[in-house]
Subunit: 393 residues, 4 copies
């Protein structure tokens, strides 16, 4: 079989469909006041979801049994990039984090009854979800080993206590996947995942965090879990295998971040290019100044290289490989390339770039956060370097 970089026709068609939808239906909503500093409201999201359903582009990655097309990673690369052209696009077609990753995780690990209760309404877009891993105050972050939230069996019930933060989409979510460390029992000290319906008085959203980014429905919350009691079968997968499942979720989840934000880089470049063509300074258009056209050229190369990186990793994942090194590299390469594109685009726009009159300002802020999400670049470089030095790579 020969090398091939071109997607199958049905993938191209779907991507074009999504692209048309985003440009004609979603972009006009970008000035909607319901896009707040804590992301689009659920009201706005539901309205966009309905448009996506009408356009036949809703949740193409969802399992077929729930109305999706169960498209693979390579197809997602094209489709999610198209969706990311608007930062409201992923919420609109329901491929945003953390739902997209949670669908993936549940589809792989959940029991039939859990699929029916949690996955089905999530995949169908009738509710949102959240993933409670990160902790404040020196707890779990890039190093999940520092997990402080605890779960202990009390008779037939799990009792969970801890604090979580930077929990994307918690406000308004229908359920939570909670990571906690077993206290006592056969799996003492190991991590386990739990499923819990929301709202629950034992899971208190203390505050919405003010963050640099603003595109996730529900924003990011700080949460106190106090004596949360869950039935013994609330465990997702097996007890003590929480870290393993987090890994199952992680590689594709960080890759789909790359896909979506690549779309926003394409958008930023389009806006910057349009401006460079029309705005004049010192006797010619900005685009006729090499100082500007070189930035556009670098943007083009960064976008191209990021896309190649994504496609390669997606191809490995579709072949069934873990691709943890490659998804890690893609995360670094893409988050840094995309951030450079956003930065250069803002710079080309000059004073206009500082304002929210174009979406570049939001793209810049969101993509800055992307260099921290799912492991800052430094954690990936550290892991990658260690693999090289130890001869594993």
């Amino acid at each position: 079989m020969e090398l091939n970089f071109a997607p199958p026709a049905e993938v191209s068609e779907l991507a074009h469909l999504v692209s048309d939808f985003i440009r004609t239906k979603v972009v006009p909503y970008e000035k909607d006041a319901r896009w707040t500093s804590h992301g689009p409201t659920d009201e706005l999201r539901v309205e966009l979801n309905e448009l996506a359903r009408q356009a036949g582009v809703f949740a193409p990655h969802a399992p077929k049994e729930y109305g999706g097309r169960a498209i693979g990673q390579v197809a997602r690369a094209f489709v999610f990039e198209a969706a990311g052209y608007s930062m409201l696009g992923p919420a609109a077609i329901h491929c945003a984090a953390p739902d997209e990753g949670n669908i993936h995780l549940l589809a792989h690990v959940a029991r039939p009854d859990q699929r029916e209760h949690f996955l089905k309404p999530l995949a169908e877009g009738r509710q949102r979800s959240c993933f409670l891993m990160t902790e404040p105050g020196g707890g779990a972050g890039s190093d999940p080993g520092m997990l402080q939230t605890t779960a202990r069996l009390d008779g037939n019930e799990w009792v969970i206590n801890g604090r979580k933060w930077l929990i994307t989409g918690a406000d308004g979510a229908g359920f939570a996947i909670i990571m906690a460390k077993n206290e006592g029992g056969a799996h003492d000290g190991h991590a386990t995942l739990f499923l819990a319906d929301l709202p629950d008085p034992a899971i208190r959203i203390e505050r919405a965090l003010d963050t640099i980014d603003s595109s996730f429905t529900g924003g990011h919350a700080e949460i106190e879990i106090k004596d949360l009691r869950l039935p013994s079968d609330a465990v997702l997968g097996e007890v003590g295998k929480g870290f393993r499942y987090a890994q199952v979720r992680l590689a594709p989840a960080r890759l789909s971040h790359c896909m979506r934000w690549l779309g926003s880089a394409v958008r930023a470049q389009e806006i910057a290019t349009g401006y460079a063509r029309s705005r004049k300074a010192f006797g010619k258009t900005l685009g006729e100044h090499e100082g500007v056209s070189f930035m556009l050229a670098d943007n083009h190369m960064d976008i191209h290289q990021a896309r190649l990186s994504i496609l390669h990793t997606a191809w490995l994942l579709d072949k069934g490989e873990r691709a943890s090194t490659e998804s890690s590299m893609s995360k670094v390469v893409c988050s840094e390339a995309i951030a450079r594109v956003a930065d250069r685009s803002m710079q080309i726009l000059g004073g206009l770039g500082m304002t929210r009159d174009t979406v570049v300002e939001r793209i810049f802020r969101d993509t800055r956060a992307f260099r921290i999400y799912d492991g800052p670049s430094e954690v990936h470089r550290w892991a990658l370097g260690a693999r090289i030095v130890s001869g594993k790579l």
Copy 2:
């Protein structure tokens, strides 16, 4: 005379006084709700100004006749950096843009009656001011030659029409300095500066711009000037010399930007260092990871080099030189170094860095804008390169 990099004792003392004031009195206000996304409110500013007066650190750069100390550029370098440690600091001691630059301009160019009417209350902090140069829609920006706002004499009155935007501090200002292009007359096509009291129904603030930065009192506005009528003596300086005066204002104004934001870089580094000392990951503190300590080292070098650049330009200005090349270089060197410091500091803070729980998030956004303010880096590189190629440098 030997080389010397150490400030005179009285400058050190003043800088320490300011530093103490900022750390003890101003920093506690950083969580105040009156610090909005359009900057601190005037109410907050007035409260801080009063504290500054009590501490003896109010407006040390103001002319002595108005209660200031008339400190020079080198002294400002030390004092304004100390003020910039909190992004509320410059507003607190009244050395923020655009007032600081306007005081400088008026002190150099205004007639005695204009000094009394405009400069005195400004220097004493009883009112704020704004500088109306930048225009939307292809008008004046980095290239002031594209000025579209017009001024024509109609009998004894000037009639001014045009649009302005990105006008910092307009909302709440007591007067405006307006740049317009003469239409007709001996100076047809040349730029002139005008002084106008605010509010004035002919100077309509159409909207507050949503911008990436958030530390200027009054935010940034878009303004329509419609048939503004000013008396013939409303001209600041001479008719037709607007660009020349803008230059008088510009070199020190962009240098004082460097000074203030250098203080914010120092702050970001302090916060990042503190976090690196305490936060653990993978078995040791972040600071014990070279991936982090190298960033702290780079921050330290960037701060040091930015400071040297400022001091050198300030020294030239104090000697009476125009130093336009050096202030231009300082603007590029400092804005880029400071932005790197802010970026690395945010990266070191990880998830915390994305949130407004520390001021680094605001510092990051403000210093991003600094790379665009007062001429984007590209305009300075272009001008500098042209001077080199033409043999002027």
Copy 3:
């Protein structure tokens, strides 16, 4: 057809064969004194060619009629990278510049008699060739439009005059392809390619240039062409189409540069990694210092991304596309990534890296030159930027 990044089995096999050959047979020659500062001598090259023939890896890109395998661009990507592992490798398997590009050009454009006389011995490795385009003193370079060498018809003969320099492989070449500008005639001012046997007293090699790189057989020469007389049928292709043919040659030629030097980046990384594993400083191995392991990680990512870029462009070329934008991007991306890899590898080696005790020192120097060869990065950014701004991209 699905996406695919894996080469066909026969390509993998050939690449492995070449890789084994390079590591076992060619690497030992890297200390041979016949590798001079002007490249390997012809004696050394001939000796290596013979070993390559014995190993069955000689000139796999040559047309089948001349004993080659006529492998396409994707196959070359794998094979040439394997050859580039030693900087003597391309000369050894006869895929070095300029011969590789000249074979490609002649195979596409030459008449049957020209193929027999020039291409056959070249493809079979019985002689070398050179391409006389670049000129000193303000003539043709990145801008071929500045061509100063002239060709005019004098009866049945072309008379060519001019100066060329940076002519790789001229010393010892069996023939030259000469680009000259028509003077008079129907194609006045247009460029034409000519074929000329070497040596010829009218083509005088004035000097071997001392250059930063040292891996091309025959080095780089400065040449005077004085009243060179060639028969009217010495034209390669059609009169006046010189620039077009240069383009035919250029896209694949610059891509094969990327392939070969990518191999040298792999080599540098291997050497640096080995050193980082064993060399100790400050109580642990260099590789245990993140300051070093991060550099290895960046090298790994740069190599990976360069390879993806090459494969993508090669795939387009194999599909019959011109891919001039993509080959241009690959040239920038690869030359800069590879230079970074070489630079970091040298830095990791410390004092050892400064010496010729490892080949990294030569790799560093050669790959520095690569950022200039075949159009400096700036020319590519300029062209790419112009295409974006004009809407062609």
Copy 4:
């Protein structure tokens, strides 16, 4: 005392004198065949030294008792930069490494008899010297603690054994300063410095290393010390204080590297600027292309910032401070800035830049090595980062 960045008149005058000398007398020697790949020959050096004496610019940093002017660090900053304009300049006025550092060390530590025997002829330029610290094969390098060369007392004599490499100027030197680790005795395990006349059959220069740089007289050697016997008073300073003296030497020695190579950056910029003014491509001069003029602007800023860094550290040293943090920062800032200048200058020169037709090619190679000399950037970042994290900075 006010800040001041301008040198005293006598320093300016001396710097101008040196500058004139370099431009008129030394530059013409840059094409001399006696400038080999292992640096200028001693014959060439002696010829240049004589010219320097005639011009009154020989060794101004030497102690006054030996004919020098004993100029301080700030004065050196101006004078050595002027000397560095030609890479033969430091050898010409005798301020090159390692002699300049050795003069400094001996002037501070040597006994009167040692001054007479070693320092006097060195300071007067009648002989050269070398400093034997760095070791091959895992010995002393950036981490001097890994010192393997041993010194043990055998009766009245020291017996020294070990291997050294990268020993600059060893070939042709009149004496060596040797660092060795005490074996036995009161200072067992501590380092001591020894003075030894050269040549000595027990100090065998095994080979001249082929290195990327080429400006040090005598090149860099690998040396075997086998049963070298020295009288007990051959110790420089006190037994066991070798590391401390190395530090005395190091801070100013690395700063003078910055000074000299800053001169070479100025030279590279001058050559690149001249080329950019005259060479045309695509219808205008290179300098009219922003892609080039921006590089010239960045060079200008890098040179300016490097100079400020040097002056600041020099000022501290002249005040009697150790300035180890500042000299370390200057080393990183300057070596990286200067390397960027050399790199950009080469890039601007295009094909010409690759050749030795201008000195930029040599400057590029030498300044690449500078990023490794006297501690690679990474060692300085590591030390600086550790000081920040531990609160010492």
